[in-house]
Amino acid sequence: MFIIGELINGMYANVGRAIKEKNKEIIQKCALEQVNSGADALDVNCGPASRNPLSDIQWLVETIQEVTDKPLALDSSKIEVIESGLKVVKNKAIINSTTADSQKLEKLIPLAKKHQAKLIGLTISSKGIPQNKDQRLELAAAIIAACIDNDFSVENLYLDPIVLPVNVAQAQMKEILESIKEFKIISDPCPKTIVGLSNVSQGTNTRSLINRTFMVMAAACGLDAAILDPLDSELIDAAITADLILNKQIYCDSYLQAYRKK
C-alpha cells in the first residue's frame, strides 16, 4: 500500500497556526513523524482558512523539502494553488486532485505532464457525488479518456471512488469497494486506485477501527494507495499485514519492523 500522510493540512489547528506564524519547526516535525511512521508521501494542504494559499503552499513545500525527499501531494481544489506549489516542488509531485469536469482535466493533465507528476482523479463532477458504482465507473472512464487524449500515462493516474462516511451512506460502502475493483478493468494498462480514508469514519465514535477495517477490505479489492493518518500505528500495522496476506511482501517474524525500515 502506498501511504500518503494526511496530517499537513491547515484544517488542523496546530498546522493552521504554524502556517499563519510561519513556524517551520512544527511543519517539519509533522513531516518527519509521518515519514518515520511509514508514510511514502505527504499530503500538503493549506486549509480553508489560508488567506494567501498561493504563497502558503510554496512555503509549506519548501519547508517540508528541507527535511525529506518523499513525494508531495499538492492538495487543493484550486488549480492556481496547485500550479503555485508545482513551481517550487523539487521532490516527486502528486496533483491532488482533478475532478471529472472537463475544464479541470484540460488544465491539470497538461500540468501533471509538464511536471512529471502523478495525478489523483476524483470520480465526482459539478453534477455532484456519484450515488452508485455505475456512476463512478462512468466518471472514471471520462477521466481515463481525457488522460489518453492528452497522452498522459494512465499508470500515473490514481482514481478515487470518493469514500463517504459510513454513518451517512452505509449502502454505498459496497458500491465503493466494487468500484475499486472495476476501475482496474477500464483500461490496459490500468489506472491505480486511491482513497481518502478518514472520511469513512467521519462523525463516528470508533474512527480508528472503521478506518482500519475499510482499508483492509479495500486492499483486498486491489487498492493501491491511501491518504491517511500514518501515526495511527494499528492502521499502518493492518496495511502492512494486508500487503503480507496479498503476497506483496515476504513474511518474516519482524515483518512489521522490516516494512517500516524499508
Binding site: I250, C252, S254, Y255, A258, K262
Partner: protein, 301 residues
C-alpha cells in the same frame, strides 16, 4: 516481436571482499559481487554489474570426501598459481571437537599464515559447532582485521558473537538459513539491527545438489531475488552457494568415478548461477574451469 521488459525498483547490494593496501589491507585485489538490477543474464533489462565469481574451497584438515592430498596452505597456493583462483574459501573444519578440536589460537595462526602466503581475498568458514565457532571465528576476525574477509556462518540461533566480531574488525558476514526465505529475511534484519549494514551481508540460502533438492533451493533463491529487485532491501543481498560441498555429498558424485563427480558439481553450480548465485564455493579445479567458461560465455566475455 516486441520484448516485454521488466523494470525493477531495487537492486542487489554490492559486497566488497578483500581490502588492498590502499584500502587498509594486504590483498592483491578486492572482489565485488552483486549489484544486479535484473534477473541473471537478462542484460536487455538492466545492468548485471558483477559477474558471478568462484572461490576454491580449501580445508585446514583433510576433507571427508573430495581429497587432493595436499595440506591447506600448499593447496591454496596451487589454486592461486596454477588455477588462477580469484578467491579462497578456507574452511576451519579442524576446530570441530570431532575433527581435531584445534584451538582458537592455532586457527588464528593458520589464518595469519594464509594472509601472508596467499594474496587473494579470503572467505573463512567455521566448523559448524556453534560453541567452538564462537571462540575460533572472533579470533580469526581479529587477526585478519582490515582484510575485509567474508566470514561465516551466522544462523538465526547463533549470530550475535560473529556479527559483533565482524563489525568490530571490518569484515563481511555470511547469513545462513535452512532453505527458508522467511528465516533468511529475519536473520538479515537481526544482523542489521546489531549495526552491521545489509551491504555487508551475503545470504547463504543453503542449497541442495542436483537430485537433492536443487529445484527447491532454486525456487527460494528466485523468490528472494524477485523480492530484492522489487525493493525489499532485507533480501537484496548477494548469494553465496556451497555448490562443491553439496555436489560431492551426492552418491552419484562419489561412487561413479571422478568425471561424473566433476559433472555433478558443474551442473549444480551452473543451475545455481541461473538462480542468481553471486559467489560459488567449489572444489574440483576441472569443474571450476567449466563453470568459469560457462559464466564467461553467458556474460559475453
Amino acid at each position: 516481436m516486441e520484448l516485454m521488459l521488466e523494470k525493477w525498483a531495487g537492486a542487489v547490494s554490492v559486497l566488497n571482499i578483500g581490502a588492498t593496501k590502499a584500502e587498509g589491507g594486504t590483498r592483491a585485489k578486492s572482489i565485488q559481487i552483486g549489484g544486479e538490477k535484473t534477473l541473471p543474464f537478462l542484460s536487455a533489462e538492466g545492468a548485471l554489474a558483477h559477474k558471478p565469481v568462484i572461490a576454491f574451497e580449501v580445508w585446514d584438515v583433510p576433507p571427508y570426501d573430495y581429497t587432493n592430498g595436499k595440506d591447506a596452505l600448499a593447496w591454496a597456493e596451487i589454486c592461486a598459481k596454477d588455477y588462477a583462483a580469484e578467491l579462497i574459501c578456507l574452511r576451519l573444519q579442524g576446530s570441530h571437537p570431532d575433527s581435531g578440536n584445534k584451538s582458537a589460537a592455532d586457527q588464528a595462526q593458520l589464518v595469519a599464515q594464509f594472509l601472508k602466503k596467499v594474496s587473494l581475498p579470503l572467505v573463512i568458514l567455521g566448523c559448524g559447532d556453534d560453541e567452538k565457532d564462537n571462540q575460533v571465528l572472533p579470533a580469526c576476525c581479529e587477526i585478519a582485521r582490515g582484510e575485509r574477509c567474508l566470514i561465516g556462518s551466522a544462523t538465526q540461533d547463533n549470530y550475535k558473537t560473529l556479527a559483533a566480531a565482524v563489525l568490530a574488525d571490518g569484515h563481511n558476514i555470511i547469513a545462513e538459513s535452512p532453505i527458508d526465505i522467511n528465516i533468511a529475511k529475519q536473520l538479515n534484519i537481526l544482523i542489521s539491527d546489531m549495526g552491521l549494514p545489509l551491504e555487508r551481508i551475503a545470504i547463504n540460502p543453503t542449497i541442495g545438489a542436483l537430485g537433492y533438492g536443487l529445484e527447491y533451493a532454486y525456487s527460494i533463491m528466485e523468490r528472494a531475488r524477485l523480492a530484492g529487485l522489487s525493493g525489499d532491501k532485507t533480501l537484496a543481498c548477494p548469494f553465496i552457494c556451497f555448490a562443491g560441498q553439496e555436489a560431492w555429498r551426492a552418491k552419484e558424485a562419489k561412487d561413479a568415478g571422478i568425471e561424473q563427480g566433476i559433472l555433478w558439481e558443474t551442473i549444480t553450480a551452473t543451475a545455481l548461477i541461473q538462480a542468481g548465485a553471486d559467489l560459488l564455493v567449489m572444489r574440483h579445479p576441472k569443474a571450476i574451469e567449466k563453470v568459469k567458461s560457462y559464466i564467461n560465455e553467458l556474460s559475453g566475455s
